[in-house]
Subunit: 337 residues, 2 copies
């Protein structure tokens, strides 16, 4: 295979599925398919005990309905007539839930027979969730419009912090519990209390949550490595790259942001890591150049790079190469709508 290419170790992947399933005792697991966008991997997650799949867009749901009849679009969709028609087609094929973080989309969603909703709650991340205290009023508006309210959900994205993983899980449990109470005050029982991010998974509160939605756990990546949530020996996806230039202070490899992605959080040591050279740093990244310090190897050497954010890296390629010779399609690549 010419470099750069994205390579998956299927044994490590299966181990990640099994280990996470057993770590999340007492919780249903509904993995986020945005990470892998692959029907093959979705089938493996379902075989490993997932109760259904999470997706981010209607287009992803349309792809994964091929292998799964229980889909949660964990996103506060804006629903115009065209998207409502797509949702109607989906509810004819699968049990479909969508996120709701306000009442603006309720009338449009109510035109989709059989659609279920979960109210999105802000666990302290400050993104698209509603305040927990507002969850009851949103749920009541949905119920009154004829929608089935399944419960509440949150994404504790502030768990992407080297020191904040446990605190984010605690925030999530507290705000989801408040939201459950807010629904109860409207006479609505939250059958599903869904949380989850990979960094906070080790701290998931099964006393409050009923369901978890990890995404990155399937592969791991450099962010999880540096956060301490996935050890490098569990990383199941790497980008194979070749050294193309060598200088006194650096080498340059042929993988850049167009295969690794450009994600670079403030806590990261660089633009990704080298699986076999933990002392090396990806100090700079252009579209087709990784500038690497702390490692001196000849031009032509192949290296295994670990993307910072694997969800971005997978979405850049049409196929994953698999150790052993198979290829798996990235079926939902680019499914943004």
């Amino acid at each position: 295979m010419p470099t750069p290419h994205v390579l998956v170790d299927p044994d490590l992947l299966e181990d990640n599925l099994a280990r996470t399933r057993s770590a999340l005792t007492g919780l249903a697991v509904r993995p986020h398919a945005k990470t892998h966008k692959s029907l093959e991997i979705a089938r493996r997650q379902l075989a490993a005990g997932a109760v259904g799949l999470t997706v981010a867009t209607v287009a992803e749901a349309e792809v994964f309905a091929q292998v799964c009849d229980d889909l949660f679009i964990a996103y506060p969709l804006f629903v115009d007539e065209a998207r409502a028609a797509r949702l109607r087609a989906l509810t004819g094929r699968a049990r479909v839930s969508v996120g709701l973080s306000g009442t603006a989309s309720v009338p449009a969603l109510a035109r989709v027979p059989g659609l279920r909703v979960l109210v999105e709650v802000d666990p302290g991340m400050g993104r698209s969730g509603a305040p927990a205290a507002a969850a009851g009023a949103i749920a009541a508006a949905a119920r009154d419009a004829g929608l089935t309210v399944e419960g509440v959900f949150a994404f504790p994205g502030h768990s992407y912090s080297p020191t904040g993983r446990a605190a984010a899980a605690a925030d999530e449990a507290r705000e989801l519990a408040r939201a459950v109470d807010s629904l109860a005050a409207e006479g609505i029982a939250a059958r599903v209390v869904s949380g989850g991010s990979t960094p906070s998974a080790a701290f998931a509160d099964a006393g409050v949550l009923t369901e978890y939605r990890p995404g990155v756990y399937v592969f791991g990546d450099a962010q999880q490595w540096e956060l301490g949530s996935i050890a490098p020996e569990h990383i199941a996806l790497t980008v194979t790259s070749t050294v193309v230039a060598r200088f006194a202070d650096r080498i340059v490899a042929d993988a850049g942001s167009k295969v690794l992605g450009a994600d670079r959080p403030a806590y990261a040591s660089g633009f990704g890591r080298l699986l076999d050279h933990p002392e090396a740093r990806i100090a700079a990244l252009s579209e087709h150049h990784a500038t690497i310090t702390g490692l001196d190897v000849p031009v032509g050497t192949r290296l295994r790079l670990v993307p910072n954010h694997v969800c971005s890296a997978v979405n850049l390629v049409d196929e994953l190469q698999v150790v052993g010779g198979q290829t798996w399609a990235v079926d939902a690549r680019g499914c943004n709508t």
Copy 2:
């Protein structure tokens, strides 16, 4: 069209081609096709006076050979037998030059009849170019192996600095002039002296350079806007996005890193800009969420977002929507090898 989608204004694009062609007086223009990856746009660049195209990979060259018979792969390729075979197929269809930043690949390149090389020189960016003083020795090794040495090239990427654009252009001219002298000392005339980045284009030194390779100029993006190198009224590509949630301190739109790209240089004000709301900021970016501050509009409002780095954004979609109703394929999307 459902959102998010990538929208191009063809009139602004044509204006960018013409304005840049006339600004680069005395220089051949060889646009970098990695920015747009589109045969339609390449045809327009050639019609607007480009002497040929620049590409970053052999795979891009294979695509653009459909519309252009003079291609420069501005990259220090590592050439194994498989890549040499692809280069041989290419030199049968087009005049092909490749970059060379050391002697390691010379023997492999020399197995490609008719191949031309340009020595890559570091203009102070510290990426993959050789020191100017070493250019002559590299060129001599290439010549002695039977390759045709066209000249020298540089990419002054350190021009991506709000205060460093002119200095980077001066560095580029100085180091390329030194490299020309270094080749001359080996008895090799540099017929081509190729430079270029969009931020430094306004300062290109036609007394040293013979050729310029701008990429982003075709569309513009938020980086160029914030660097002061392309005014917002010239930006020809935007991502149409819909507001999906609204809170007291922020709104959330449905375009994230999977359509805008995750590039976020230190000098940037955020993860992109809003073309019609210069006061607003994209304060945070997830895969499908742009968290926007400084703007309060209702859920359902469509916004025109400007990606920070347009080369990343284009590489995320299969088609560009065009004002007026056409679509243009991103023919070379994902062509990393």
